[in-house]
Symmetry: C3
Subunit: 363 residues, 3 copies
């Protein structure tokens, strides 16, 4: 796991200075850096921490004077935040999973497992499943019948993938991620209270309740390349056709994608986001934590939502949204300010009424 300063700089496309043959074993914060550490000081505000600690090597902000900081060597990338990706990939100690197929795993004889795949203990691989080369399937995972998993997948422990899911290369799933649960789709024999409310926006028939009949999901889940799914996140099967997730989408913990949703590429979906059934989401969309997207609506390309935004209707491409119900972020911020002025406004109007109508305020 140890790399020279020079090799790290090369991997990062960054410049290396000083004793570039020093070996790095760990990455650390400037104040805690010890011998063998690369201190991360991507911003001048870390200069003091760096001086107070014992760092000998650091990754620094552009323009930093590494010698004045008392270092023996330094790496200076052009965009330090981006350099973090290659750096953390190099230095990731991994989960310590053993190579090879664990003898306790249960693999259907019709499954196709590439030669260099690792499979952890108590993992189940179903009939006709295909696991791509270089994949690492953790302990206690479930890969259902007829699933295709591309090359270099990384499944952490206790991930489950339901039958017929088709998943591209370099898929990552955090612990407890669930692909291919059935969609949540129920119907009543007669028109239901919900259908009445959707029509009337506010009142429902006063009919007796009815039991729900289940609509089974006949579709599965299709996931592109380079997708990551967070811990305990869920992506449901489609009803007739598949639920579709485009290349490069990333989902944080407990994100939910309902049945029939179609998402474009390179979306960033933060924690506890829920995208309801049959919504369509464009490319490069960012949904802040706890955002909700109503069923059957459309979110255009490059839309960004702030934390906890609840989107109840279509959003055109490029919009930045906030609030419940979602409105454009700048208008929403204006609204929040106006609301804060409400108590004073109420007093002003009471005064005006007194002055104009000569009546006492009775509010």
């Amino acid at each position: 796991m140890s790399h020279s300063v020079k090799d790290i700089a090369t991997a990062l496309g960054a410049q290396a200075f000083g004793a570039v043959d020093l070996l790095i074993e760990r990455v650390s914060e400037p104040g805690h850096a010890k011998q063998g550490d690369l201190a991360l000081a991507t911003n001048p505000k870390y200069a003091e921490d760096l001086s107070n600690g014992h760092a000998r090597v650091a990754l620094l902000w552009e323009g930093a004077d590494w010698q004045a900081l008392g270092l023996k060597a330094a790496i200076i990338p052009s965009r330090p935040r981006y350099a973090m990706s290659a750096l953390t990939r190099m230095m990731d100690p991994g989960q310590g999973t053993d190579a090879g197929i664990h003898p306790t795993s249960v693999i259907d004889p019709t499954a196709q497992i590439a030669a260099d795949v690792s499979i952890g203990p108590f993992t189940v691989i179903g009939a006709r499943a295909v696991i791509g080369a270089g994949s690492l399937i953790g302990a206690q995972c479930f890969v259902g019948a007829d699933v295709t998993l591309g090359a270099n997948a990384f499944l952490r422990e206790q991930v489950s993938i339901g039958a017929r899911a088709q998943i591209g290369d370099r898929f990552i799933a955090q612990p407890g991620a669930r692909i291919g649960g059935d969609g949540f789709s129920f119907v009543t024999a007669e028109k239901s209270g919900i259908e009445a409310v959707r029509e009337s926006l506010g009142s429902q028939d006063d009919t007796d309740g009815q039991p729900y009949a289940r609509i089974h999901s006949l579709g599965a889940v299709q996931i592109g390349h380079d997708v990551e799914i967070g811990a305990n996140a869920t992506i449901d099967n489609g009803t007739i056709r598949d639920t579709v997730i485009g290349d490069g989408c990333k989902f944080d913990n407990m994100a939910q994608v309902g049945h029939n949703v179609v998402m474009g590429r390179d979306c960033l979906i933060c924690g506890h986001v829920a995208i309801a059934g049959s919504a369509r989401v464009g490319n490069n969309v960012v949904l802040g934590g706890m955002t909700g997207i109503s069923d059957n609506i459309f979110i255009g390309d490059r839309v960004i939502t702030g934390g906890a935004t609840k989107v109840l209707s279509n959003v055109p491409a490029g919009r930045v949204m906030l609030g419940y119900p979602a409105t454009q972020m700048d208008k929403q911020v204006e609204t929040y300010k106006s609301i804060r002025r409400l108590p004073r406004l109420l007093r002003d109007v009471a005064d005006l009424k007194k002055a104009v109508f000569k009546t006492p305020s009775n509010d």
Copy 2:
């Protein structure tokens, strides 16, 4: 898995037309239908897709002229959306689970498993558990001690059910569903800051913090017939008595039901809904996605909440609610409109003040 047009129509209680002996292997969308498919065109808006595709058989809206659409056969149900239930049940390819008890499963010798039950690999069935006839328990499930699971249960992979849960017939649990975690109940030796805030609605004692002591859940979970629990959803044990879920309730992914909650029958609980401890929920209640229900409150029969509604106090039967805090949907929509007029209102009042009081606006 293939069925004749005639048999499908009979199962749906629908009328069949044309070449009713044609065999159907799959259901598909009108534009993608191939030979052997039943195209779903439940609405005249699909007529064009139908013409552009290669569908030979379709399920059509009432009054459709199937011959004019160039079809060889058609099925016309009276309520197409409802027909979807029987249709998708017939055509569901399932998860490909093997029949029988997998040799790797660990089943306590005192458990009672009906003769025609299937149990997947690495599943654990605890002491004195009872599994009803026709049940299909997926891989890597956990059924705790003294659990009763009714007939025809279907547990997907990695479902867990804690000790003493009593569950009715036809129970369905999606991957990662959790029944019978302990309730979230803690207490401090002295009155806590939360108790002070609940009394004062806004300020707390400035006392030092206290550690929390745990209240164990002595109760379990009771679930009626025909209940479904979504992927990674959780239903907690009760404290002294059981948490109770009535017949026919359906829960979407990541729904949460706290300890001591009592729910009636036929409720529809959407994704990411949280029902806090000791809340009581009536019959035929519908909670939209991300709805929150405060602890200890009462939700009457047939209440419906819109997406992301946060219910902080009791709601009488039949109400349709929206917003945070929840108010009646029509009033809430009115409020949203009023709020949007606030910036203009602020300007109007400034103008009025200038005119009436002859003072410049200083806002």
Copy 3:
């Protein structure tokens, strides 16, 4: 599991009256109490239920006249709610887990398991993991490489703990809890739309979308003593240093703690709460259900949030917060009231405009 009235009272530090040698097998609600039960009547409002039931022994409110209630014995603690903790701990029937190490578990030979630890079927313990004395690890759990778990841990079924987590004594994890998933951290090669929005608060560059590069988590999770994690809750690894949870923190179901978060001691985090990456949370903080905490912000000691509060900026110590965006609870309640008066306010201003400007309202 049966205890005498006298022994229970002693364990609770409460007074016992009457036939203190009677044996108690169960705790029950006053109306349902049978022979062998201890009826819980912590409040005079339960007196009638008590009279209507068949309780012979009850735990009563201070000052209750147990003889007048027709009981044979009674226990009277000074703070009945607090007494519930010791009482339910004594009477907890547990999950019926077998003692000892189940033969199907897979334990790395380098792991250190104390002599009196129980480990359930299909559980995996990784290399160099250390499991403290008296711990009970349920079925199908995963404890990763180099994890340290303190004494008397209790892991329910299907809990997973990623590599290198360090956890104190008396840790409790409910089913499906996930410790040590990777943090949600991604970066683009060029400045992204999100970075632009954070600077401008409302508009983004109209550049084409970019793919995301992953920042791996090199840190792990550090958890203090006496911490409990709810069902399907998740705590992510830190990026460079560890995510830190202080002693005594309790998390309800589906709570999420992002990478790098540092939390103090004795916090109570309710269901569906999401704490985003790098947030800092003080001591004795209480976050109501569905609260959201933005990334990188600071929540002071003893802060309390009401249900569904969304905290978008720092909160000083001692504040009680509510709403979206979060404001102080008393101001927020005032705001809610003002908003309810808005429709009338709009009418008043229309009237004023008519009177002052002699123009017809055109709203």
